[in-house]
Symmetry: C2
Amino acid sequence: MYKNNGVVLVLSGPSGAGKSSLIKEIADDIGEYYFSISTTTRKPRDGEVDGVDYYFVSEEEFKKDIKDEYFLEYALVHGNYYGTSIKPVKEALSKGKLVIFDIDVQGNTAITNRLGDITTSVFITPPTLSELRKRLQNRSTDTKEVIERRLVMAKMEIQRISEYDFIVVNDDLKVAAEVLKQIAKTARLKVPINKINDFVHKWEDKE
Amino acid sequence: MYKNNGVVLVLSGPSGAGKSSLIKEIADDIGEYYFSISTTTRKPRDGEVDGVDYYFVSEEEFKKDIKDEYFLEYALVHGNYYGTSIKPVKEALSKGKLVIFDIDVQGNTAITNRLGDITTSVFITPPTLSELRKRLQNRSTDTKEVIERRLVMAKMEIQRISEYDFIVVNDDLKVAAEVLKQIAKTARLKVPINKINDFVHKWEDKE
């Protein structure tokens, strides 16, 4: 009953919440997982690698994939398309992996609508908005304009955190990682609806 | 954020699924909890103690409590009323306890509707219907008629297990207890909607 079920863990939260650090922190303790890589029409930034950070495609390719219904979800953000291809997710799920998404609030809605029975969603946030500002300024990878845009986005997203199963306040990385690890392990126990139906069927059949 | 939140763990499943044994098994490892005691108009059976197994009341008292909206949920089963009083639940929640309900499918619906933001629901079941029959026969506390009625109930309830967050198949008690312990610990991380709203409010305010 508990084995070989692919399940989904959605992580949302503002850029600067520490999602990547948290995933690194818990990676060794949560069993086999597949980190979903998004597809985008945005140009790669310095150091970004195709197939690692994103699948970088042309707008033409992206629009063809939309038409062919290749996306679990997609969105147009600041003029660039971002989407999640179904195929690698399905593959990982069929292998019983924990599929982790780093995705925004809209993406969470789309995934929960499609895969709600096996999805656990977590909103990760810095303790305060001013702490988020500080972190974004300290990492100095973004221009002032980008930072302001991220903060506006964060303010909008935090209004919707009640849509999430869990909220993790990333104040101390170690503490937040323990909490997230606990959630990820329990996420493994979700059973897909088709397996439930099989179980009910067999449950009565055996008498 | 994670401390002092009262949360709810609903356990459902047929009589004979092993709910009581499981609760005993995990009791020492899940922190302070309050096991919700139902109120009933049914007469106490041999060995049943008022305030431990149930609160035993008259039909008149029960109906007055319904009128006074004292119940979180109630139902009429085989001619007897069963209900959950709000007051002790609220008290336990305000003390940050894990409130555990052993309740049927209808009860789960009622509680999830009222306290969904802090509720984790688990359906506990023996591996098969014939195993359930065997267990009920072996414990020999029930007459043949009662056993048959329980089996009919179980068949009806199992049709609705997809309404639960988790399913625990109690084949091996130790294994099932480990799974339930994991779920109970994660249930502790749920945050009530009013605390979320407070958090969001403060989150922005501090800037």
